[in-house]
Amino acid sequence: MAATLTILIDGLTYASWLFIVALGLTLVFGVLKILNIAHGSFYALGAYAAASFVGWTASMKWAPELSLVAMLLAAVAVAAIVAPLTERGLMRFFYGRDEVLLVLVTYAMFLIMEDVTKLVWGANPYYVSEPYSLFGNIDIGVQTYVGYDFALVALALIVGLAVWWGLNRTRSGKIVLAVIHSAEIAASMGVNVSRVYMGAFSVGIFLAALGGAFTAPMISVQPGVSVGVIIVSFAVVIIGGLGSIEGAAVGALIVGMARSLAVHVAPVTELFSVYVVMAIVLMFRPEGLFQRIQARKI
């Protein structure tokens, strides 16, 4: 019983940050039709920026609670600086090209950002442990869990609801949905499509950076964090269906639980359990669990 609970809670924690990251990925795909390999690099940027920002708040002797604000600001800063640079400076030259070619453009971006982060932050690991103890510990049965993990679950819920509400209940959200449906018709109705692209791309980067910033306290931030995250978040959006918010949530839960089950029950399978699930879903529902099947274009 205790073991089952541990598996569930571990899976839920893993799923929560993964959901935040994958939500950004699925949003960018939904609007811009780009499967962004560099998404993991934005995650890494968020984690590094959080390390620097939290470091500053600590050196200023500010209250430890402010480190949470610092992490949020780190994600905002990454989105505000990187989104205009990459979207206006690079991606817009490739819109409308083949989807696989766009994957390669983002692969190039990933290669570039790997070295840029190394140049800015060096190759040594950073540790951001301060915020991790902010929420204390919670005892459930015989096990003790870290409160921060539960805070992360709450954050994921808030982010998910906010994005859902923003897309479905606001005017600008409706405009985004119109662009997703058909960019051409939306443009002819007077929608500024490039502004929508820019906005969606910025929100996508923000979500990646937010995921990175809030997982920074749980990991050591070092070169290579981006590489693992990309493929796992790909697995999430592929399982759930590209471009679907519900899909990202369910995909994150499935991946989180699969990984947690693997870690606790059969550690040998930890490294590939997620990809086995992804391969199985692709085999039986290539469009993902939450994607309507599209008619083939002639």
């Binding site: 989807e99 570039i112 190394k118 697995a235 930890e270 490294l271 692709l282 085999m283």
Partner: protein, 318 residues
């Protein structure tokens, strides 16, 4: 798509290929060791990318071809260490055959997928292979394992000649595969593949089988990848799970994109370019070589979308 390449054209291609092989083999005698090693790796890796180009002609890009490299590499290394097979040619062909056999069951399944779904499914398969190889302690886990010096046709290779012999073997096999690839690309099925890229439905209406073409291309790509993997591992003397990691596959795709799908020779030129960039930048700018690679890739996609092969293949395929 109109084929203008004729039997005469192939005669010229074969002559050019053989001439290139003889020139490279002779030049190898005068080359420093690091250069023959670099060209060996370029030719071996080029074989993997050749398989990707074969698939790209049909409009799909696999993002897990590192799996074939790993399958071929591990098969050759295991055959050497456990079965006592030491002949380099046998090991190379064995690597190709094992990769083919391992990939064949997935080929009919993969032939149904297109675009990013094809890329993602191949990626998932290669990452499963990576995870398995990392965890199998019998195969050395994350460290991989070493293999000794192979022989060739029963001859023990002396210290001074082992590098050169493997170099000649690798470029010989690469030449053979390159020529066979050219013949295949210009055959009926090869042209059906090109037509699939343009319009699948029309191919089906005209009586061609899209899935059959895709299945065969995937199996051929597996053979090329396995062959390249076995050759690379023999020169490296070492095999490890990162062969199957997605970033390795990414480099092969990089070479395939740089080469474009028109010219076979371009694949090996692009592969050499990558090896040169890799060795020089990791020696002189160890922290910015991926940056250089990324900028280069963007440049190619933006200004040479059909790859370097399009620079000299303009006339032959429209």
């Amino acid at each position: 798509m109109i084929q203008t390449e004729t039997a005469v054209g192939h005669g010229r291609t074969v002559a050019l290929g053989l001439a290139a092989f003889v020139l490279l083999a002779l030049a190898g005698l005068a080359m420093p060791k690091w250069l023959t090693f670099l060209l060996t790796m370029a030719a071996a890796n080029g074989l993997v990318s050749l398989g990707i180009v074969g698939l790209m002609r049909g409009g799909v890009v696999p993002f897990g071809q590192g799996m074939m490299l790993a399958l071929g590499g591990y098969a050759a290394a295991l055959a050497f260490n456990k079965l006592g097979v030491t002949d380099a040619l046998l090991l190379a062909l064995g690597g190709g055959v094992v990769a083919t056999l391992a990939a064949a069951p997935f080929a009919p399944l993969l032939s149904r997928y297109r675009g990013i779904f094809f890329a993602m499914l191949t990626l998932a398969l290669s990452m499963v292979t990576y995870g398995l190889l990392m965890k199998l302690s019998a195969l050395g886990g994350s460290d991989g394992f070493n293999l000794g010096r192979p022989t060739l046709f029963g001859q023990v290779l002396a210290d001074a000649w082992v590098g050169y012999t493997l170099y000649v073997l690798t470029i010989a096999l690469a030449t053979v595969m390159a020529l066979l690839a050219r013949v295949y690309f210009d055959s009926t099925r090869g042209l059906v593949t090109l037509a699939v890229r343009e319009n699948e439905l029309r191919v089906e209406y005209l009586g061609g089988s899209v899935r059959q073409a895709m299945t065969i291309n995937f199996i051929l790509a597996a053979f090329c990848g396995g062959l390249g993997g076995a050759l690379a591992v023999m020169s490296l003397g070492h095999v490890e799970p990162t062969f199957s990691f997605w970033t390795t596959s990414g480099e092969f795709v990089f070479v395939a994109i740089l080469a474009g799908w028109q010219s076979v020779a371009a694949v090996f030129i692009a592969s050499t370019v990558l090896e040169v960039v890799r060795s020089f930048s990791s020696a002189y700018f160890p922290n910015t070589w991926q940056l250089a690679l990324g900028l280069f890739l963007l440049f190619v996609i933006r200004f040479l979308p059909k790859g370097i092969g399009s620079l000299w293949m303009r006339g032959s395929t429209r």
